[in-house]
């Protein structure tokens, strides 16, 4: 590891200001991702600003829904009664990720901000646009079995690895952000992650020094009809090849509202807006689910080794919707 300065902020505004003031500074929350990246020499901050304990680690109900602290641990979030009862989709998605030990350390803010798991990003001996802008993407014609089928560019084909983010995207979450100038702002969760375009190194909607303080999930009627499907290479402790968060509001056999998001297929949690629109007002049948899946994957483009993901995504959407019903 390279030498770095460690400091502890006393409040969110202070933390944002400290990081904004040093272009090589980073926030430290659970540390399960950033420290690994530093050990591999992939991330090279010269300062870590510890934010544990300075922003909310609470999960509480609000008039509009619930507020989930950015510094709450993944484990505590997944097991919180408010989450379990009202947002089981979120609980399932978190518990499908990583391992118990990592979830005990990982925070919600760190989870949604975690880096891609691209093999080439992790290996400083090879080129990667995300690590070294302009150096080239090694994965696009490389070992890309686990890479993106949607929204990738010739500059980057990596996928966002977070499970939690897939559920948050499906649940119309809003993100509260502390800015460096002391002000705060709020954005829809679906805008937090960006497609790689020509700037994969800058794929989050946060300016340097902006810190996530909490997530707001609105009230909904999905609790009885939601499901998280995760397809992966082993039964636990591995990232999604494809995952689907599906939530339905049903009126008898008819779908009033559908929410679907996919993980493992793009550089961001992929909200399946087309599929959702198609399903609204339709009967909850396998046939309709298949049509919706077909529609959503129309724009998918495979790489050399990941064509299977297109069919797998469709089937996973159908499975998640069937289970949700």
């Amino acid at each position: 590891m390279r030498p770095f300065k460690y400091s502890k902020a006393t409040n969110a505004a202070g933390a944002a200001k400290a990081v904004a003031g040093n272009k090589n500074a980073k926030f430290l929350s659970g540390g399960t991702n950033i420290l690994d990246l530093m050990k591999e020499d992939v991330a090279r901050p010269d300062e870590l600003v510890d934010i544990n304990g300075i922003a909310s680690s609470q999960i509480r109900s609000t008039p509009a829904g619930i507020s989930v602290g950015a510094l709450a641990k993944n484990t505590d979030t997944a097991n919180h009664p408010l989450v379990r009862e009202n947002y089981p989709l979120l609980s399932q998605a978190i518990l499908a990720g990583a391992s118990e030990q990592i979830r005990n350390m990982a925070t919600n803010g760190g989870n949604v901000m975690q880096q891609v798991r691209c093999l080439y990003f992790y290996d400083t001996a090879v080129n990667c646009n995300r690590r070294e802008p302009g150096s080239g993407c090694s994965a696009i014609v490389g070992l890309n079995r686990t890479y993106a089928i949607l929204g990738w560019s010739e500059h980057c084909v990596a996928v966002n690895p977070s499970d939690m983010a897939v559920a948050l995207a499906a649940l119309d979450t809003k993100v509260n952000i502390q800015m460096a100038d002391g002000k705060t702002r709020t954005i829809p969760f679906t805008e937090l992650h960006r497609l790689p375009g020509d700037a994969p190194h800058d794929d989050k909607a946060l300016a340097h020094g902006e810190m996530i303080t909490s997530f707001e999930i609105p009230k909904n009627k999905f609790a009885a009809n939601s499901y998280y499907v995760k397809v992966r290479d082993r039964a636990s402790y591995s990232f999604a090849l494809v995952s689907v968060a599906a939530a339905l509001e049903l009126n008898g056999k008819t779908i009033t509202t559908a929410r679907i998001a996919l993980g493992g297929v793009a550089n961001k949690p992929w909200r399946a807006f087309d599929a959702e629109k198609f399903l609204a007002g339709k009967a909850a049948t396998k046939e309709n689910f298949e049509k919706a899946a077909e529609l959503e994957l129309k724009s998918a483009r495979p790489l050399e080794f990941n064509e299977y993901k297109i069919e797998l995504s469709k089937r996973a959407i159908v499975r998640a919707l069937e289970k949700a019903v």
Partner: protein, 718 residues
């Protein structure tokens, strides 16, 4: 027998779980410096220039070594040694070694080493690398002609990727010199082999080298060879005149100790309509490096297993710009078994014969290579017991014919076999008058339970409680023992331990009989029983004398005997093999391709079982390993760079608990008087051999899809 054959917990278990057991890097050595390697970014070429000035300037850095100033080996073996020249032969090859006051300082400074290369295009894909013929046994009969004449023909190709052992404990060493005397604590499966290696490298007497490795956190073949870590640690310690500690990181484990080679295999089978095999041609090409010719015997696997008059096993190795492979659990056999036992299954389906039945039709009653009998072969019984335990008779022959809701159910079977080897070994036992015994031999315990099993054997034949026996291993100063590899340890060291205990008994009976009035007067050693500190006549237990009294009468406090066992000459007239029948149930999600191994039954015929508890544990380990090999493990190489890319546990998958469900084992009674007096055959590799094929066969039974390229990941099924 009193202790042999009874389940016993590991004698070193408490030390291990309480952290008292010291692994190589945990020894406290004063004033130790830390080393870390900088590694090559390229796979082939040479170092044009290397700049260590920035690294050397960092605080805490003691010295930086490169090929320009590192000590050179005096050994002429073609092993890979680090920092010997400017030549780069694989990616991540060490190019510099930084020594610092702390590991962190060394690691950081290593990053600041800058090298310029003259780069050549590497060939890491064995499919396009030049091959050389390797030694393979003579063809039996005329396999091509017999194949051409067979009414039933089959041919298919199979591949396995590079796989790594990935023991939990990374390789680690601490070395220090006292004058001309070297001591090194290092992860090792054979301390005396390492001792010999170091003596050669430094051109010093083996007596001047002490290699210590009492506990090993898994090795599976990764620590059979000394690899570059051993000489590098020892030689740099001498250079800096200070104790030195060097550990591999997980990433460095991928290029620091070898791996199971990539192997391409083609199996051609000719058979009669009734299922009788007429010809097998089993070809194999495995990869090696450009600097060493590593060979194993992937295609030899079936030569003794099936009665087939024509058998041919041509074998080649492909010279790739990668590090040299090495032996990895069940080397060769599990590779060959995956191909042959899959192919056998395929032919059985072609003929619509139950796969167990098909194997019994071709069962070899004697060694088809030589016509000699097997010293024992209870494979038929293993099939019977395994099938009964598994419920095989309920199986439907047709693929895709069994279901459990969304899940397709598949049942598969395969056979494992492994040579029942033995090597010369020496054990020293010191029995004291108070009944405590110290037993020593320079073997290793990399996890199978050697501490326990030798304790049991010594206790049995000394007639003392196992709690009174202390077995020491993993120190080159102890009596000679072979490396722990090839599943020969219990047969070798166990036989020597029995011999040493018997020698003590013989000595004691002789001493007792010096007294003319001894109750044992006139009895032969075999007439005497030694148990619970007394020697008594088997025919009349009342005639007895206390061991302590015999020693006292002879003015002794301790009896020391050293015994060297060698393999029984009778073995030459027999084929000595262990066998197993391995049954697997898988469930496959029809839409999503997810594969679960829900049930495994291993029925094993491997001679006498000394410790059923540890044996069950070994067999479970083999199953888990087989699940990994069949479904998950792959060291992916990006051939553009000749570089291994899945070099951590997030990307190199091995099974987690949730991947392992029911594993049952059965040990078939198998008495073998030929292999050694106790009839021990070994099982550590055997238990893995058939598992990947059995899983592949079960996946076919479930889905109707035959996957011939490991690992069987779900994308290959949808």
């Amino acid at each position: 027998m009193k202790y042999i054959g009874k389940a016993m917990s590991r004698v070193d278990g408490v030390a291990k779980v309480t952290g008292k057991a010291k692994y190589a890097s945990e020894f406290d050595v004063k004033n130790v410096a830390y080393g870390y390697v900088a590694q090559s970014r390229i796979a082939k070429g040479r170092i044009k220039s290397i700049d260590v000035s920035e690294a050397e300037r960092q605080s805490g850095v003691v010295k930086v070594f490169t090929h320009l100033n590192a000590p050179k080996t005096k050994s002429s073996d073609d092993d890979f040694f680090a920092l010997q020249s400017d030549k780069i032969v694989f990616s991540d090859q060490p190019i510099a070694f930084v020594v610092a006051e702390s590991l962190e300082q060394a690691r950081f400074a290593a990053r600041l080493v800058k090298a310029e290369y003259e780069e050549e295009k590497p060939t890491s894909d064995p499919r396009s690398a030049p091959t050389v013929d390797s030694r393979s046994p003579k063809m039996r009969g005329d396999a091509p002609a017999a194949l051409a004449a067979s009414p039933v023909k089959f041919e298919a190709e199979y591949t396995i990727p590079i796989e790594h052992h990935n023991p939990m404990e990374p390789h680690a060493g601490i070395a220090f010199w006292e004058g001309e005397k070297l001591t090194i604590f290092i992860k090792s499966q054979g301390v005396q082999a390492f001792q010999g290696h170091l003596a050669k490298c430094f051109d010093i007497k083996p007596e001047n080298v002490r290699v210590v490795s009492p506990f090993v956190g898994g090795a599976f073949g990764a620590a059979l060879n000394p690899h570059y870590i051993t000489f590098l640690t020892a030689s740099i310690a001498r250079e800096i005149k200070r104790p030195l500690k060097f550990n591999y990181t997980r990433r460095q484990m991928f290029t620091g100790h070898g791996y199971r080679p990539y192997t391409w295999q083609k199996v051609s089978i000719g058979a009669e309509k009734d299922g009788k095999l007429r010809s097998v041609i089993h070809e194999a090409v495995g990869n090696t490096s450009t600097i060493e010719n590593f060979t194993e015997s992937p295609n030899g696997f079936g030569r003794t297993l099936y009665e087939c008059p024509n058998y041919h096993t041509p074998y080649k190795i492909a010279k790739t710009d990668l590090p040299t492979p090495t032996w990895m659990r069940a080397p060769g056999a599990v590779t060959g078994a995956f191909a042959l036992e899959s192919a056998i299954d395929e032919v059985a389906y072609q003929l619509k014969i139950d796969p167990v039945e098909f194997r019994l039709i071709n069962y070899s009653e004697k060694d088809p290579e030589t016509g000699r009998p097997f010293s024992s072969k209870a494979l038929r019984e293993a099939f019977k017991q395994g099938a009964a335990k598994f419920g095989w008779e309920k199986r439907k022959l047709e693929p895709r014919s069994m279901r459990d809701g969304n899940w397709l159910v598949g049942w598969g079977v395969a056979v494992g076999t492994w040579g029942a080897g033995q090597a010369p070994a020496t054990v020293r036992i010191a029995l004291s008058a108070d009944g405590n015994a110290r037993v020593g031999s320079a073997t290793a315990d990399i996890g199978p339970g050697t501490y326990t099993v030798i304790t049991i054997i010594a206790a049995e034949f000394l007639g003392v409680d196992p709690a009174k026996v202390k077995f020491e291993l993993g120190d080159s100063d102890l009596p000679n023992a072979p490396m722990q590899g090839g599943s020969i340890t219990t047969a070798s060291v166990g036989t020597a331990a029995q011999g040493a205990a018997m020698a003590i008994k013989t000595k004691l009976v002789g001493l007792a009989q010096k007294d003319a009035n001894s109750p044992l007067a006139g009895a032969s050693v075999d007439d005497v029983e030694m148990a619970d500190g007394t020697l008594s006549l088997k025919s009349n237990a009342a005639k007895k004398v206390a061991v302590a009294d015999v020693m006292k009468a002879n003015g002794m406090t301790e009896i020391v005997e050293t015994f060297t066992s060698t393999p029984n000459a009778e073995r030459r007239n027999y084929r000595t093999q262990a066998h197993g029948a391995q049954f697997v149930e898988v469930k496959v999600d029809e839409d999503l391709g997810i594969i679960k191994v829900t049930r495994v039954v291993e029925a094993t015929a491997c001679g006498r079982i000394i410790n059923p508890k540890a044996s069950h544990s070994q067999e479970m380990g083999g199953v888990v390993w087989g699940i990994g090999m069949a479904l998950q493990e792959e060291t992916a190489v990006d051939h553009r760079y000749g570089r291994m890319m899945t070099t951590n546990f997030a990307t190199y998958h091995i099974p987690v608990n949730a991947d392992v469900q029911s594993v049952e084992t059965a040990f078939v009674d198998e008495e073998d008087k030929i292999v050694n007096p106790l009839g021990i055959k070994g099982m550590g590799e055997l238990c893995l051999v058939g598992i990947p094929a059995a899983i592949a066969n079960a996946v076919f039974h479930a889905t109707g899809k035959r996957v011939r390229d490991l690992p069987i990941t779900l994308d290959k099924l949808i």
